[in-house]
C-alpha cells in the first residue's frame, strides 16, 4: 500500500511508501498519527496548511461483514481540534483496492472554482466541476456516476461544504448509488470545500483485490467472526429495527433529547420509535425497506429506506440520532417530517445532529415553535438560500447560541451532543466531555452497561473502556455493530490482522490500538491549545435538573481529568 498525497494547488499526485510508524495503523488511528506528524497545530482549518485525510481501516477492503468503513479527518473547523468522522458506503473498499493506505489532500487552489478529483490506478486527474457548483448531493451524484461510471465510489459535498459551513460533512455513495453515507461530524465538508473540491471519484477498476498474507488463516478467522456475529441475539434486532430502536430505550431511561435538551422524556416517542417505523414501512411497501445494508457484504443490514405513503422513497436511511435531534429535540412526533428534514440536510451535505441541535437553539431563541415541522423545514431551506440566518444555522448549535444569546447550548468543544442526554446516561456524558473529538456518540456510548446510569460513581471507567474499544474499531474500519461479533469472539480481531498482514499481534490489540489512537488525538489537541477545561460538559448541565429524574451531571471534574491516568 502507498500514501497518496495530492497537492490541490499544483494539482499533482505523489505516491509514497508508507512510513514505518504508520504501517500498523489504519482509519482513525492513522489519521491521528498523520495529524501529529504533519499538521501544524495552529493551522487555520480552512487554510492552506490544514490537510484533509482519508483512510480506510486496517480490515477494510475484503467485504468482511461491517468492516469496510472509511475514516476522514483533519483539523476541525467546528472544534478547532483533532477530527475523525466515519462512514459506510463504498469509498473505503475502493480506496483499499486502489492500494491507498491514506489519501492526503494538501494546500488549496490559488484561484476560485470547483474541481472533481478523479483517482484510479493510473493516478490523479483534476476535472473542472463548475457545472456542479450549488447542486445538492442528490442532484450531483447521478451526474458524477453518469460521467465516471456507476461502479465508482464517490465522496462529495453539497452546498453546505461549498459555503464552508462548520456543520458540513462529506457524503459517500453507497452500494445502491445513494449519496447519503456521511462523514458527518466536525465540518470536514467545509475543509474539502476550502480545497475547491466538489467531489472525489475513486475508481478501483483494473485493480487486484487487496493482498492477504495467509488466505487459509483469513478464511478461518472470517468464518469464526461471521458465526459469532450472526449468532448474536442483537443482530436480528438491528436488522429489523435499526438504530431507531434506541428511541424507546433512551425515552425509558429519561435520556432522549426533548425540546432542546429541556426534558428527558418525549410524549411522542412511541410515534417516532423504531417499532413504529418498522410497522409504517411494512405497511407502506413500495420503495420502503426495513432491512438494508449500507456496505456490500454486511450481514447485519441495520439500515433502511424510508418511503412515503405514495410508495416513493423520501430518504435513506433514517437513523436514531436524526430521530433524536430532528424529532424529539424539536418536539416533532412525525416520522414523515423527520424523514423530510433528513433529506434536506443530506442534500445540503450537512450533519443532521449538528443542524438538529442548532434548530433546537433556534427554537429557544423564539425562531421556531417546538413541534412545528413545517417551520423547521423552512429554516433548513434558509440554509440553502445562503442567508445570514441560514449560514448561522449551518454553522451549528454553538454559533446559534452566540448569535442569539442562548445559554442552554448542547455542545462540547463546540460540537453538538448526540441523542443521549448526559445527565441521565452519565457514562456517555464522560465520553462527551473527555473524548478529543467533541461530543460524539461514536466515541463510546455506555447505555448498554448494566449500571445505574444516574449514579456518577464508576462512570469514568465504563466510558474509558468504551472509548478505547470504539477508537479501536474505528482504526480497524469496523462498524460499531461489528463489535457484537468481535466481543463474542475477540480472538478473531487478532487472527484477522495476523492473517492479512503477516503480523504477530496479541489478543489485546483492539484496546492497544484504541489507547494509542486516543493518546495521539489528545497530543494533537494539547498542541492546538486544548486544556482540561475543554473536557467539560456545558456548565448549565451541571446545574439544571433534567426531568423526569431531575438529574444533573455530577461526575467530579477530578475524575474526568484522571480518565487516562
Amino acid at each position: 500500500m502507498q500514501i497518496w498525497r495530492v497537492n490541490t494547488r499544483e494539482q499533482t499526485l505523489t505516491r509514497e511508501p508508507v512510513p514505518e510508524s504508520w504501517k500498523q495503523l489504519g482509519g482513525r488511528g492513522l489519521l491521528a498519527r498523520i495529524m501529529v506528524d504533519e499538521l501544524p497545530p495552529a493551522c487555520d482549518p480552512l487554510g492552506p496548511n490544514n490537510k484533509l485525510i482519508f483512510a480506510p481501516g486496517l480490515l477494510t477492503g475484503h467485504r468482511l461483514s461491517s468492516c469496510d468503513r472509511l475514516s476522514v479527518g483533519g483539523k476541525s473547523p467546528l472544534t478547532g481540534g483533532v477530527k475523525e468522522s466515519n462512514a459506510g458506503g463504498r469509498t473505503g473498499l475502493h480506496m483499499a483496492t486502489l492500494g491507498m493506505k491514506a489519501l492526503i489532500l494538501e494546500e488549496r487552489p490559488s484561484q476560485p472554482g470547483w474541481w472533481v478529483l478523479h483517482l484510479n490506478k493510473e493516478g490523479a486527474r483534476f476535472d473542472p466541476a463548475d457545472d456542479l457548483a450549488g447542486l445538492g448531493v442528490y442532484a450531483a451524484a447521478p451526474k458524477l456516476l453518469a460521467r465516471y461510471g456507476d461502479k465508482c465510489a464517490i465522496s462529495l459535498i453539497g452546498p453546505g461544504g461549498e459555503m464552508k459551513l462548520t456543520g458540513a460533512g462529506i457524503q459517500n455513495v453507497d452500494k445502491d448509488k445513494t449519496p447519503s453515507r456521511i462523514n458527518a461530524r466536525g465540518g470536514l465538508g467545509a475543509v474539502l470545500g476550502s480545497k475547491g473540491i466538489k467531489a472525489i471519484v475513486f475508481d478501483m477498476s483494473g485493480c487486484d483485490k487487496p493482498a492477504i498474507a495467509d488466505p487459509p488463516a483469513w478464511q478461518a478467522a472470517q468464518k469464526a467472526y461471521n458465526k459469532a456475529l450472526m449468532g448474536h441475539p442483537q443482530t436480528q434486532s438491528y436488522a429489523d429495527y435499526g438504530t431507531a430502536a434506541m428511541t424507546r430505550m433512551t425515552n425509558a431511561f429519561g435520556a432522549i433529547p426533548t425540546r432542546s435538551f429541556s426534558d428527558g422524556q418525549f410524549e411522542g416517542a412511541d410515534k417516532i420509535s423504531g417499532e413504529a417505523m418498522r410497522e409504517l414501512l411494512l405497511q407502506r411497501g413500495g420503495a420502503s425497506e426495513t432491512t438494508h445494508a449500507c456496505m456490500a457484504g454486511c450481514t447485519i443490514r441495520c439500515s433502511n429506506v424510508f418511503g412515503g405513503a405514495d410508495g416513493e422513497e423520501i430518504v435513506s436511511p433514517v437513523e436514531y440520532e436524526t430521530i433524536g435531534l430532528m424529532g424529539s429535540n424539536l418536539g416533532i412526533d412525525s416520522l414523515d417530517t423527520i424523514a423530510r428534514l433528513n433529506w434536506e440536510v443530506n442534500d445540503l451535505g450537512l450533519d443532521s445532529i449538528e443542524i438538529g441541535a442548532a434548530l433546537g437553539v433556534a427554537a429557544q431563541a423564539g425562531l421556531l415553535a417546538f413541534g412545528d415541522g413545517e417551520g423547521a423545514l423552512e429554516l433548513v431551506r434558509e440554509i440553502r438560500s445562503g442567508s445570514a440566518l441560514g449560514r448561522a444555522l449551518g454553522n451549528g448549535a454553538a454559533m446559534m447560541g452566540k448569535l442569539y444569546g442562548v445559554e442552554r447550548v448542547p455542545v462540547v468543544k463546540g460540537q453538538a451532543l448526540s441523542a443521549y442526554d448526559p445527565r441521565a446516561i452519565k457514562g456517555t456524558g464522560v465520553t462527551y466531555a473527555t473524548t478529543p473529538q467533541g461530543a460524539d456518540h461514536t466515541c463510546g456510548l455506555t447505555i448498554r452497561a448494566k449500571v445505574d446510569h444516574l449514579d456518577p460513581q464508576g462512570q469514568v471507567e465504563i466510558s474509558r473502556n468504551a472509548q478505547m474499544s470504539m477508537a479501536g474499531y474505528d482504526t480497524l474500519g469496523a462498524c460499531v455493530f461489528a463489535g457484537f461479533g468481535f466481543a463474542a469472539a475477540p480472538e478473531t480481531i487478532r487472527d484477522l490482522l495476523n492473517a492479512k498482514y503477516g503480523w504477530n499481534v496479541s489478543g489485546n490489540i483492539l484496546q492497544e490500538l484504541g489507547r494509542e489512537t486516543i493518546m495521539l488525538e489528545r497530543e494533537f489537541n494539547r498542541r492546538a491549545g486544548f486544556t482540561a477545561v475543554d473536557d467539560r460538559l456545558p456548565e448549565w448541565m451541571t446545574r439544571e435538573p433534567l426531568p423526569p429524574h431531575n438529574a444533573v451531571f455530577d461526575v467530579p471534574e477530578a475524575e474526568l481529568d484522571g480518565i487516562w491516568e
Binding site: S237, T243, M246, E319, S418, L445, R448
Partner: protein
Amino acid sequence: MKVTVHLHTILQRQTPEGPQRRMDVALLSGSTLADLIEDLGIEMPLEGMLLVVNGRTAPSNHILNEGDQVHLMPAISGG
C-alpha cells in the same frame, strides 16, 4: 399486584398473546423481574437484556412493586 411492561423490538413478538408493545401484567406480591420474565415466556438470555424499572437499571432479582413501569430491552446501543 399489577405492573406495566414495555417490550422493546424483537421481544414484542415473544409473548403468549402475540405481538405486544405494552401490557399490564398481574403478579404475585414479592415477584422479581426474573419471575416476570419467566411468566411472559421471554426467550432471550438475561445477559442479552437490559432490565429497567421506573427509568433505572435493575438486577433480575429486583422485587417489583404495584404500578412499576418495567422495560425489557435487547441490550443494543448505537445511532
